[in-house]
Symmetry: C2
Subunit: 454 residues, 2 copies
Amino acid sequence: MAQYKYLLEEKDLPTHWYNVIPDMKTPPPPYRHPVTLKLMTPDDLAPVFPQALIMQEASQERWIEIPDEVRDVLKMWRPSPLYRAARWERALDTPAKIYYKWEGVSPPGSHKPNTAVAQCYYAKEEGLEGLATETGAGQWGSALCFATQLFGLKVKVFMVTISYHQKPYRRIAMETWGGNVVPSPSSETKAGRDILAVDPETSGSLGIAISEAIEYAVTHDGWKYSLGSVVNFVLLHQTVVGMEARKQMEMAGDYPDILIGCVGGGSNFAGLFLPFIKDKLDGSKPDLRVINVESTACPSLTRGIYAYDWGDTAKTGPVAKMHTVGHGFIPAPVHAGGLRYHGMAPIICRLLEDGFVEARAYHQNAVFEAAESFARAEGFIVAPETAHAIKAVYDEALACRESGEAKVILFNNSGHGHFDLAAYDAYHRRELPDYALEEEKIQQALAELPQVPE
Amino acid sequence: MAQYKYLLEEKDLPTHWYNVIPDMKTPPPPYRHPVTLKLMTPDDLAPVFPQALIMQEASQERWIEIPDEVRDVLKMWRPSPLYRAARWERALDTPAKIYYKWEGVSPPGSHKPNTAVAQCYYAKEEGLEGLATETGAGQWGSALCFATQLFGLKVKVFMVTISYHQKPYRRIAMETWGGNVVPSPSSETKAGRDILAVDPETSGSLGIAISEAIEYAVTHDGWKYSLGSVVNFVLLHQTVVGMEARKQMEMAGDYPDILIGCVGGGSNFAGLFLPFIKDKLDGSKPDLRVINVESTACPSLTRGIYAYDWGDTAKTGPVAKMHTVGHGFIPAPVHAGGLRYHGMAPIICRLLEDGFVEARAYHQNAVFEAAESFARAEGFIVAPETAHAIKAVYDEALACRESGEAKVILFNNSGHGHFDLAAYDAYHRRELPDYALEEEKIQQALAELPQVPE
């Protein structure tokens, strides 16, 4: 009988995070101030983030120790299992060997708590009272509500309006963990009120919600801002995924030819691929392919440009050099709310520019078709975001069937879709739109980028 | 640092199911024919169940081998983890040591696939085309849709109307796995049409849905009936839970003083406790306490009587001696749909009569209060049914705080509540009714029991 699961013990949980920056050919350039566009100092970031995270953001250390208190919480569900998708391979009649890291075993159901727990630990260490954040699909908000509760912190979540209504179960889960959740744009911040004044019916966006959360954090004593993707320290915290996966692939006796993950801000996939791409950066695995999969509704890597842009719509957060479709771009309301972010992690963008990773985008019907094929063979019903990764695996597996190659594919199964079943229902009823690529709206949004002196 | 999880490898999956019947002081009496009330023969059961299951139902073998094909599917998620609820212990400030078996890791999210997979295997072996079943909360229907798909069988699910509307996500999940789901009572069977003629607005019940599923199975060539609880072979298939838990408790260096589980038909809890109660039946663990927890809305063990009754409302299925509130009793629409069954597994009833197990019932608000306390400490949001077990653990843990006793409590965390968040929402909004015990309705229903000669 085949082995399905490769398990590690709690004692095998990584002791250090892997910081890729010292190993990069070109590191991502530093952030710029949102108003002056000058180089940003740690002092500029101090009102927004806990100090320890600001230090991690700019760290040149390759290995950063994970505090014991953080590891103790991660052990509630980590190390997560690595699966061989043996039944799906058979269903697809492919010679490819498909593996996936299953992050859906965490209590909030995704990879997101890997960084939420670390951020809460540092916030508590700094004596903070609470953290404010945004959430799209609700995966990140769930993770932060789960984690703040464990560290005795308060939490305020600005949830993108369309997801707030499409995914009530996510909101209820956050409330069950003790979180305070409001739809964004909200009337609780100036950023939110300004947007609502122009368009009271807006479906919202991650960019707007970020603006609200930052504003809430800097205007409340004892509060700071927490975010679930994009920045270096979040990617750093997610590297436990790839560190574990390396050990588990060794147990399975394989090394991946292709790594695949979905990218909204980029953290789940970077968490998986960074500990592997290390081998490509040092030249030992030159042929390793790393495929970032995004939504055609928000195609920052495949149709955006590599330029400085604000991370949020209201232009209150740092300016970063990244692939962007413009901070003013509001994507179509696809169910993969977590992929509706206009930018991308600067680390991933730099790796794309330097040719170490590739990217592609899919429409949502093709994505759900692949996810349903996966669910019927492997059982697990994945999140709409994760389903984008599954579509790419599906395509690569079928390409192997054509070519007869037995490639080893590893993807990050970043979360379950139990709170996203309405999307599957819409797919079954053929009510899921494949939105046309919004070239004109992207061009308009790109005309509004900041002019940063190189 | 504390250890949270006790994990077994796939090779540690049990090779045999444990059949408690040869070890019982008094075995449960045989079934009676639904019309003649005479002793039922295997031939009487043949139109309803696959032959192999009929043999298992009456088996006197203590150990029954699990077919390799069944083990191969169970390994997709088994062995399931055993958790130490260390954070909840701290939150409750109790000296008790609380362990739980976490069945929420299965793709359908509960213990139910343990028997669904076995039943599908035997159905396929017999050359059947499809299986018909009922489902309350949807846990069982989900499990059967997941399993039929893996064995290439068709499936028809009659879902209790109130759950069909309260839990649309469960319905969508079943459809994602390829299932055909209709609300029960439906117009597709005579049993359903008869009920709808009398009360078109009925919220339905498991008893009615069972009648529909049996009728559908016996009136369609190549179809048989599948059920997810109550009968001996289902409890048998669930014993993998307790077999694994025994090994895992050994790894943890503890043996339970108290076993706790929720009971609707009784299968999840029997799956956990039967391999332990073996030690009480043979006298080696005389003090082991086994607490069955039910809903006050359907209190078969705590307020019903031990008597022969039909297993289904339309009186088409076998008559069993069990604790019952009467086959005609339609319980209040509590969110724990899986606990809305009028009877109980005959094995559990016989053990209760003989003093080997005990029972208690709770109202739903107290249950959700305990479940939220658990979610905030351990992270996992459990199903409303499972929450009943958690309330009993909560009470026992607080009793230990009073007495200072460090009792070892093990409960079956039988499933996640991701599709049941509406119930938590109602609890948060204080909109959850605590239905009064319906003594009069129970007395009326008990007046309709069959007169079976002893």
